[in-house]
């Protein structure tokens, strides 16, 4: 039914209108100032900036974030699984074993990450002594 898609169409229109209008307004009423060195510096509450704007994070933060997402999603699956478990388990044990294989695969991943020292923060490759500072 095409009329059911009127909301979708309106949403598309609203999206286009927003994108075009914000750009148009900034072009129309925005003031074109002159560029100066001071204008191009990073804003530091009125003070002169000290040091580089881009601080570098250790790659380990990303590693932990990735592993967190990986093992966190597992729980999301388990909630839905738990909701239907009681009804389904009467029919067959398939639902029981399928969660087993799922956790098994994740466990292999966990062992692999552990063995590859993905959780090891104190040892940096290239330095022999642990750096705990």
């Amino acid at each position: 039914m095409p009329q059911d898609y009127v909301p979708v169409f309106l949403q598309v229109l609203a999206g286009i209108f927003f994108a075009v209008s914000t750009l148009a307004v900034s072009v129309l009423i925005g003031k074109r100032g002159r560029d100066s060195v001071a204008k191009d510096t990073a804003y530091e509450c009125g003070k002169d900036p000290i040091g580089d704007v881009h601080t570098r994070f250790s790659v380990k933060f990303y590693l932990v974030a990735m592993l967190f997402i990986l093992f966190d999603i597992e729980v999301v699956f388990m909630y839905t699984w738990a909701v239907v478990y009681r009804d389904m388990v009467h029919h067959s044990l398939a639902i029981f074993y399928s969660m087993f294989t799922f956790i098994g695969i994740l466990f292999v991943g966990y062992l692999y990450a552990l063995k590859k020292k993905a959780f090891d923060w104190t040892h940096t490759p290239g330095s022999s002594s642990p750096n705990r500072s």
């Binding site: 095409p2 059911d4 898609y5 695969i105 292999v108 062992l111 063995k115 590859k116």
Partner: protein, 501 residues
């Protein structure tokens, strides 16, 4: 023959996944070398392939109808296993070894292959999406594996962003289709749209085609191909250009024939693929002409080959916009042509990339003029390279000729005359740029006279591939034995009878 009921517990996908996980643990705990892991991975692939041979071509649904086993599924399972074996072997034996984590470089293609095999037997949009993500996510890692190289990083980022975009298109399309039908099962959707189709479903199909178009590098969704091909390690480029493309083609076949194979569906997808095929044939083959870097040249050539395959896919349509209906023989013919084309494409492409990998060990970023006088430095490499280029160009008596001839025949039989003209023009244009490297190898003075040594296994594999290229060219029946019965199981009810009502 194993009964298809064993698929539930013993599907090739399960075997390969379990083996890949065991290998990961072996690599982590026993710290096996990359070479040992490679041997074990190849053994696993061999066992899986033998097991696959034991399943017949009877049509069965398994895993709660998520998957469907039929002739096409069996053919593509074996095809992907062959691709994986060649790519994994290449990674260890032929090309420059990866500097770190060699074991993962071998195990990841096993997961990619599992994803591709799932795609080959998908019967549900959900499974299709998950399998496609398994393929692309493992390929993101493999493409950017040489992470200290800027070219590899550029390739990785491009592939990541465009891969994500294409998945978004696909999922959006699936959402539209699901929104109307309330199901994601292919065989449940098919009977709903035999006599008519709502616009929203057509729009969904269009989005799905865009998503798949990215995967098979169909123009105008091909932009990533040359850059990614250039930056990825040679074995992965070969894997991408054969395995990933064949994966895209089989889901394309499953969607356009299995889900939207009836008349109203054909009215949407045939014109889209028609335009895609013409653009791919023209742009792929014409843009390859000015390329000097060999891997970029192969990238554009791969876009061109997508065009040829799409012509065969259109030939498998149950009804064409002109009102022409297909007979069952014609439907099967289109599908078989796709598979024959992929087999010959696999043989020639892998030969080329093995030669490139040997040469790039000495000189990365190979360009055409670097090939000068290769016939004097290594007659085997030059012969293998030249024969596979000639086969890709479609010159008789090599196997590429049979494939191109079949494509042209399909277009002729289905009266697709504009497409036929473009196909022939593209084949002639292709001849021109494939001859460039051959000219350099045989009729140019070498810049550097040192002979190139090829080790015994590599020579044996190259000779084997050359023999196959020639044998399948002379005896086209040998491929038809392979693809015999390898058609998609007919979606019930039979589309041919329905559209003719």
């Amino acid at each position: 023959m194993l009964s298809p009921t064993y698929l539930t517990y013993l599907a090739p996908e399960i075997l390969l996944t379990v083996w890949a996980m065991i290998l990961l643990l072996l690599e982590a705990f026993l710290s096996l070398s990359a070479r040992e892991i490679t041997r074990l991975a190849l053994a696993g692939i061999l066992v899986t392939a033998i097991e696959t041979l034991f399943f017949g071509t009877d049509t069965t649904l398994f895993w709660g109808s998520l998957c469907k086993w039929d002739g096409a599924a069996k053919f593509f399972h074996l095809f992907f296993l062959a691709v994986a074996a060649l790519a994994i072997w290449m990674a260890d034996e032929v090309q420059e070894p990866v500097t770190h984590g060699g074991g993962e470089f071998v195990v990841l293609p096993l997961f990619t292959t599992t994803g591709l095999m799932l795609l080959a037997s998908a019967n549900d949009f959900m499974l299709l999406f998950v399998a496609l993500e398994l393929v692309t996510i493992s390929l993101y890692i493999l493409v950017a594996y040489r992470r200290r190289s800027l070219v590899a990083l550029e390739a990785g980022v491009k592939y990541l962003i465009l891969g994500g975009l294409s998945s978004a298109f696909l999922v959006m399309g699936v959402a539209y289709i699901f929104g109307i039908t309330g199901t994601t099962r292919f065989d449940a959707i098919f009977p709903l749209f035999i006599y008519g189709m709502p616009t929203a479903v057509g729009f969904g199909l269009l989005l799905v085609l865009i998503g798949v178009g990215f995967k098979i590098a169909m123009v105008p969704f091909h932009i990533w191909a040359p850059d990614v091909y250039e930056g990825a390690p040679n074995s992965i480029t070969a894997f991408l250009s054969v395995g990933s493309k064949a994966g895209g083609i089989i889901i394309l076949l499953r969607i356009v024939l299995g889900v939207f194979g009836a008349g109203p569906g054909c009215d949407i997808w045939v014109p889209v693929l028609y335009v895609g095929a013409i653009l791919s044939l023209l742009l792929g083959n014409l843009a390859a002409i000015p390329q000097r870097n060999l891997k970029r040249l192969m990238g554009y050539s791969s876009v061109g080959h997508t065009g040829f395959i799409l012509v065969a896919v259109i030939g498998a349509a149950a009804s064409l916009p002109g009102g022409a209906r297909a007979s069952i023989a014609e439907l099967a013919n289109g599908q078989t042509t796709v598979m024959v084309y992929l087999v010959t494409y696999l043989l020639a492409t892998f030969t080329i990339f093995i030669v490139l990998a040997v040469l790039e060990r000495r000189l990365p970023g190979l360009e055409i003029h670097h090939l000068a006088g290769l016939s004097q430095r290594s007659p085997l490499l030059a012969a293998a390279f030249a024969l596979s280029l000639v086969s890709l160009a479609g010159v008789p008596p090599l196997s590429g000729f049979i494939a191109k001839a079949l494509v042209i025949l399909v277009a002729w039989n289905r009266h697709l005359y504009p497409l036929l003209i473009v196909t022939i023009f593209a084949a002639v244009a292709a001849l021109y740029y494939y001859l460039g490297p051959i000219k350099a190898m045989y009729w140019s003075e070498p810049l550097d006279e040192t002979p190139i040594k090829v080790n015994r296994t590599t020579s044996a594999v190259l000779i084997g591939l050359i023999v196959l290229l020639i044998v399948t060219g002379f005896y086209a029946q040998s491929i038809s034995v392979l693809v015999g019965g390898a058609t998609l199981a007919q979606a019930t009810p039979d589309p041919v009878h329905l559209v003719s009502k």
